[in-house]
Symmetry: C2
Subunit: 198 residues, 2 copies
C-alpha cells in the first residue's frame, strides 16, 4: 500500500464530514462516510438508519444502555455492528489511500496502516449554527441536542477504543473549524498529505 | 495593533518552545519565553529560577499546595507572580505582533488581542527522548518526571484559567510534534499566519 490513509474524527456539527469530502476531492481519493454505513447495513441486515445511530453512539447517557438488544446467539446488536464496521474499515483501507470519516477508524487501523489522524472540532455556537442550517430546527434546544450527541459519541468511542474521544494524543492534528474555517482546515490537511506523499 | 499574536501552549518535552522560536524567526517576530520570566523577576524581586518554577507549575500534586508562602500583605507569592505575569504579557502584546510561549498567554489575552492559539504536544516516548537530549539524565525515572510536570502544569493552568489544559477547545490548532516533526509544525503555523495577515 502506498500513501497514507486520512482518518477524520469530528465533533457533531463541526463540519468534519464536509472537510473529509473536500480533502478527498482535492486529493483525488475516495471518501468513506455513508458508504461504510451502507455496507454494514448490507452485510448485517440492519437498516441504514439503525446502523447510523448504533455504530457511533451509545443508546443513552448511561453506560448500562450501551449494548442494547441481543441476537439469537446472545451477541448485542452493537457488537455485531462494531465487528462488521471494523472488518469493512480494514477492507477499504487495504484497497488503498482514502479518507475515512468517523467510525473510530483512527483506532481500528492504528496498527495496520500509515495514517494521518485528524480531529475536527469547534465551539458550541458555530456548531449550533451549522446544525440548524444543515438539519433544520427541532423541538429540542439545540445546545442540549449537541451536548447529548457529544456525550453519546464520546461514550461510544471510549467503550470501544479505551481511549478518550477528542484527546489530542490520539491524533496528529486537531483543527478548530469554527475559528480556522472549513476551507483552511481542508487546505492544511491537503498540504500536509501532499508533502508526506511526494 | 495589526497582525495576530501567536500563543504557544505546550506539553513539557514536546519541543513547543523550539517551535515558537523558529516560527518567530521565520516571520520576523519577537518570541517571548524566558524574556517574560526575566521581566517578572526584575519587577517582583524573585529570582528567575523561582519565577520559572512558580509561574507555570503548582507546587505539588495537591491543590492545597498551590498558593505557597505569602508576602507581608498576605498575598501568596504565586498570586504576585501571576498578577505580574498577566501585566507583562498584556504589555508585550500591545507592543505588536509576537510569539508568546506558555504562561497561559492564550487565556490572559483572550479578550484583548487577535490570537492564533496553538497547542503543541507529543507522545510520552518522543518527549522522554527530547528531555534527556536537552536536559540530560536525572536520578528520577524520566516518565515519572514527565507525568509529574504534566500534572503540575495542568493544575496550574486549570486553577488560574478555569479551563482544562490541553483541551482542543482552547486552541485554534493542536499539533503532534512527535508524529508531524518540529519542522512541519513550524511550517504549518507560519503558512497559516502568513495567509491570515496578507
Amino acid at each position: 500500500m502506498t500513501g497514507k490513509i486520512i482518518t477524520i474524527s469530528r465533533q457533531f456539527g463541526s463540519g468534519g464530514r464536509t472537510v473529509g469530502r473536500e480533502v478527498a476531492e482535492k486529493l483525488g481519493l475516495k471518501c468513506y462516510d455513508s458508504e461504510i454505513i451502507r455496507q454494514i447495513a448490507e452485510e448485517s441486515g440492519f437498516s441504514e438508519d439503525y446502523v447510523k445511530e448504533n455504530g457511533e453512539y451509545t443508546e443513552g447517557s448511561g453506560l448500562f444502555n450501551n449494548f442494547g438488544p441481543v441476537d439469537f446467539y446472545g451477541r448485542s446488536n452493537r457488537i455485531t455492528i462494531w465487528t462488521e464496521q471494523c472488518r469493512i474499515i480494514r477492507k477499504l483501507a487495504h484497497e488503498g489511500p482514502c479518507v475515512i470519516v468517523g467510525r473510530c477508524a483512527d483506532y481500528v487501523l492504528r496498527d495496520e496502516a500509515d495514517l494521518l489522524r485528524v480531529f475536527v472540532y469547534s465551539d458550541m455556537e458555530s456548531r449550533a449554527k451549522r446544525v440548524v442550517n444543515e438539519y433544520g430546527e427541532t423541538d429540542e434546544k439545540i445546545e442540549k441536542r449537541l451536548r447529548d450527541k457529544d456525550k453519546r459519541r464520546a461514550a461510544y468511542y471510549e467503550i470501544y477504543t479505551d481511549q478518550k474521544f477528542g484527546d489530542p494524543q490520539n491524533y496528529d492534528l486537531c483543527l478548530n473549524s469554527g475559528t480556522l474555517g472549513i476551507d483552511e482546515c481542508v487546505n492544511m490537511i491537503v498540504n500536509l498529505y501532499q508533502k508526506d506523499n511526494k
